[in-house]
């Protein structure tokens, strides 16, 4: 069963009787009424048929959220958000509302799929075409599912996990990103509706990238996604989120939370390609992407590696971080952020060194074009007990044109005098010499820019799973279209 169908089933299965909160909205409604209140939180929880503890958890988050101020320290600029103008729950679209074939899909979107080289079948899934995949992706997905089950890997929507393994979810949910971590995460805790749960049992190396399956079956385009990945002792998993294809969504506000937990000797590799709709040239209609991603290297010798390619959204606010608790644990952050036109991005990472001999590595490549603005914001914190801690940070900015901006804000807080913290930063432009050289060899100007930018990002691109790296490279070119000439 596809993820959407699953959700639909689930929503259908919640009968009106289960509902006992004296809340006036029709439980069968596809949409919650606009706005946010305790009743809406109860409504969402009821729709999902959640256990009592989770409802309490959500309500606690909601109450904290009311009191919390908006984060003001980032260098992004937008009008105040009117939280009461959004719907916080809507059922997935039924097949009747979806395009019947690719002929009904926005040609511009299809043109981009074409450029990215995405196969027709996948284009249909991505564009939300109501097609029957009985012979294709569902059977593929079933094969994947079987393979995962054989080794005991749990990979399912978080709402399903609450039924299959409630204790695991309860044990780890909110332990990396506490309910009241920041206003956006707090909102997510109160109203999250989608997201994935992954558990890798001790000693298991997950037999596939959790992306192939994901791309076909599990299009997480929810507004308030909640993802929780737990790698038990000595296990390994590579997880890929997102998609190079441009994603459109009527919901402007996105506030996801991702929590990773790595126990002794475990490794989690988390890769993201984010290409939400950036809005028009002025940024109108673009997505606000406020994400809280954090990983806890809880066990000794554990490792968490974040790789991200950020090209979309009108505003990106995102700092995938690592808490290096276990001795000898390793945190990595590899990032490419591209902003064009009126996009704004404030992104970076936090590496919190708590355990002995913990090491972290940060490689950030920022590309600004048009009149966009981007900031790398990084924190490396070394606690007094983190004997032998080491960090290496490299931040490179590339400017295209003279109307864009790039800023690097590295904070270093070292409380251990033996720690080694290295920071390197460069800012460069694409030189006219380079463009002329490439054009003289027959490469058109835009392709030449894309080539230089891909070269600039290479170190990070190489961290991506192979088939995704190829698409991501094409995406670089597409994101920068119209940035020269």
């Amino acid at each position: 069963m596809s993820a959407t169908a699953e959700t639909v089933e689930q929503v259908k299965s919640i009968s009106g009787e289960k509902y006992k909160y004296g809340f006036v909205t029709d439980i069968a409604a596809d949409k919650a009424p606009k706005g946010l209140s305790e009743d809406i939180v109860r409504f969402i929880s009821a729709k999902k048929g959640e256990p009592e503890w989770l409802l309490e958890w959500r309500l606690k988050a909601y109450r904290r959220w009311l009191e919390m101020p908006e984060p003001k320290w980032s260098k992004v600029d937008f009008p105040p958000i009117d939280y009461q103008q959004y719907h916080y729950y809507s059922a997935p679209k039924s097949d009747d509302d979806r395009p019947k074939s690719l002929d009904e899909v926005d040609p511009e979107l299809l043109a981009t799929y074409e450029k990215l080289g995405i196969p027709i079948k996948e284009q249909e899934v991505l564009a939300g075409v109501a097609v029957d995949y009985v012979f294709d992706s569902v059977s593929v997905a079933t094969t994947f599912k079987k393979k995962l089950e054989e080794v005991g890997v749990i990979f399912c929507p978080i709402s399903e996990a609450l039924e299959r393994c409630p204790d695991l979810v309860r044990k780890y949910l909110g332990t990396v990103v506490p309910v009241a971590d920041n206003k956006h995460a707090c909102l997510n805790s109160a109203v999250f509706t989608d997201g994935s749960f992954v558990y890798i049992p001790p000693g298991v190396r997950c037999p596939m990238e959790l992306s192939t399956y994901f791309r076909i079956n599990e299009m997480n385009t929810g507004q308030f996604e909640r993802t929780l990945i737990v790698a038990d002792k000595g296990s390994y998993v590579s997880y890929l989120e997102g998609c190079t294809a441009p994603m459109r969504d009527e919901n402007q506000l996105h506030a996801a939370v991702v929590e990773l937990v790595a126990l002794d000797d475990a490794e989690i590799k988390y890769s993201t390609v984010q290409n939400w709709y950036p809005g028009d040239e002025e940024g109108k209609g673009g997505i606000y992407n406020f994400v809280t991603k954090r990983g806890a290297c809880r066990g000794k010798n554990s490792k968490i590696s974040w790789t991200q390619v950020e090209t979309g959204s009108a505003i990106t606010w995102k700092y995938p971080s690592c808490i290096l608790q276990g001795d000898n644990s390793v945190g990595e952050f590899y990032s490419i952020a591209i902003t064009n036109n009126a996009q704004q991005a404030d992104t970076g990472t936090k590496m919190i060194h708590l355990g002995k001999n913990t090491t972290s590595r940060i490689i950030s490549k920022g590309i600004s074009a048009g009149k966009s603005d981007q900031t790398y914001r990084g924190l490396v914190k070394i606690s007094p007990k983190a004997e032998g801690a080491r960090n290496y940070t490299q931040c490179d900015s590339l400017l295209i044109g003279d109307k864009c901006g790039a800023h690097t804000v590295p904070y270093i807080e070292s409380k251990n005098k033996n720690a080694i913290v290295e920071h390197e930063a460069t800012t460069s432009t694409i030189s006219e010499d380079q463009l002329f050289y490439l054009r003289q060899r027959g490469i058109p100007e835009e392709a030449a820019v894309a080539l230089v930018v891909n070269g600039f990002c290479r170190e990070v691109m190489q961290q991506l799973p192979m088939e995704f790296a190829v698409e991501a490279q094409k995406l670089v070119g597409i994101s920068l279209e119209g940035s020269v000439g």
Binding site: S431, E432, D433, Q434, F436, Y437, L438, R439, Q440, R441, G442, I443, P444, E445, A447, L451, V452, N454, G455, F456, C457, R458, E459
Partner: protein, 250 residues
């Protein structure tokens, strides 16, 4: 092949080319010599269509077509190749990726099918071998960390791969050791055919022992001051350029 008529060009408002006349017939190799700063590289950039090198008078006719309005990439696709005096570094872009992009961009422009990976690699290996270059150089980023001589050899590799109709070599011999000079010359000679022509800019007569030119021109003060056979190069080696610069000053 190439007909340059009374060409005037300015760089940042300063006139560098002051009426260049030059005709290269198909199959010919012409050498251009001249003092430092006389406008040789400027001429090559103008022919390749570099931004900022403005043609203020005269015409460039290449295979019967006026080039003035064409972008650099269009000229390249039509078969004009410039081996740079100072090859440019492109960090992070493997040499082979760059060459692959270039070959396929040119093929697309001409309406030909792109080469697939296997065809391309096969072709590239063959060319690399001819030029006695290591495969390792194909994996490295374009010109990054290359020695002076390696950069020049890399220019010749690109030329061999793109098989241009008109090659302009701007001091490709400078900085080459004797063996490299031979290899580079062989690369140029290998492309010699009745349909292809070359303009070889050099300061040294020695190169012309390997690449024997049909004509030698002296470019000084923004103009072709003298044209002769290959013996002119020997003469210049003996007497220098005093005659030409003196004339102009008087």
């Amino acid at each position: 092949m190439l007909e340059i008529k009374d060409l005037h060009a300015t760089v940042q408002g300063k006139e560098i080319l002051k009426g260049v006349n030059l005709t290269v017939n198909p199959g010919e190799v012409h050498a251009i010599m001249g003092p430092n700063g006389s406008g040789k590289s400027t001429l090559s950039y103008v022919l390749a269509g570099r931004d900022g090198y403005e043609v203020t008078g005269g015409r460039i006719i290449y295979m019967g077509e006026d080039l003035t309005e064409l972008d650099p990439e269009e000229r390249a696709a039509k078969g004009i190749f410039l081996a740079f005096q100072y090859p440019v570094e492109i960090p992070g872009v493997p040499n082979s990726t760059f060459l692959n992009e270039a070959v396929n961009a040119v093929r697309r422009y001409r309406g030909e099918d792109e080469l697939d990976k296997i065809q391309f690699v096969k072709m590239l290996r063959a060319k690399t071998k001819e030029l006695n270059m290591s495969d390792e150089m194909l994996k490295r980023a374009v010109n990054v960390g290359f020695s002076g001589g390696e950069k020049k050899r890399n220019e010749v590799l690109q030329m061999a791969v793109l098989e241009p109709k008109l090659s302009i070599l701007d001091e490709t011999d400078s900085g080459l050791d004797i063996d490299a000079l031979k290899i580079v010359s062989e690369g140029v000679n290998a492309l010699r055919s009745p349909e292809r022509s070359s303009l070889v800019i050099t300061h040294y007569q020695r190169l012309l022992d390997y690449i024997v030119p049909d004509k030698v021109h002296v470019l000084a003060q923004g103009r072709i001051q003298k044209t002769g056979g290959k013996e002119l190069a020997l003469e210049l080696e003996k007497n220098g350029y005093a005659d030409f610069t003196g004339e102009e000053a008087a």
